[in-house]
Symmetry: C2
Subunit: 129 residues, 2 copies
Amino acid sequence: MDAQLDKLKFDSNGLIPIIVQDVENDQVLMMAFMNREALDKTLATGKIHTYSRSRGRLALKGESSKHFQHVKKILTDCDRDVVLFKVVQDVAACHEGYRSCFFREYEEGADDWKIAAKKAFDPDAVYKK
Amino acid sequence: MDAQLDKLKFDSNGLIPIIVQDVENDQVLMMAFMNREALDKTLATGKIHTYSRSRGRLALKGESSKHFQHVKKILTDCDRDVVLFKVVQDVAACHEGYRSCFFREYEEGADDWKIAAKKAFDPDAVYKK
């Protein structure tokens, strides 16, 4: 039982949106969802765990890649229905090889989003192991 | 019609989560949802518009307070199902008077989240006008 966590508002599916931000340079790394179990596990281990809606299960972020997110600070908003984690990111957050999942930038008049970052690692090498 | 916006993935309720970040210091200001209409209006006006799930309608951020968010940069993530806006924030983002909605910090062993920021304005003065 954690009184502070009990005050958070989960949605009708038992989920709460979370934002993960790099504690070193404040870059937004990703957005995901947690259920209460993922939140408890994140606090117990100090590593971000999410609830994967596509896989329908708890997932340790970095499980395959070993690119873990180490929690340093936890904040919530005025409505207590979003949680912001400030983390130390191992290597990179995105499974496509970028430091942040937000690597696509809107460019006025263009047909597609442009890639606005350079890869931090080669996904083929990391995930084929 | 905007080809880039057409590539975004809205959920089964027609909504997409958005993160608003201060372009000047990278502080995360708030998290909200947009439907396609809110997104189109945001791009047309350069000011953040959200879809308010509680009020069930489009809302111009800062409508009452005049604390608008002026869009400078738009990013999306690998899955194209979250949008990150970098903005110039007028005065403050939070209706409780704080610069960022994320003003509550988790403190180990405490009964409640602690207030980790100072107010930027007095909500009673601003909203009673």
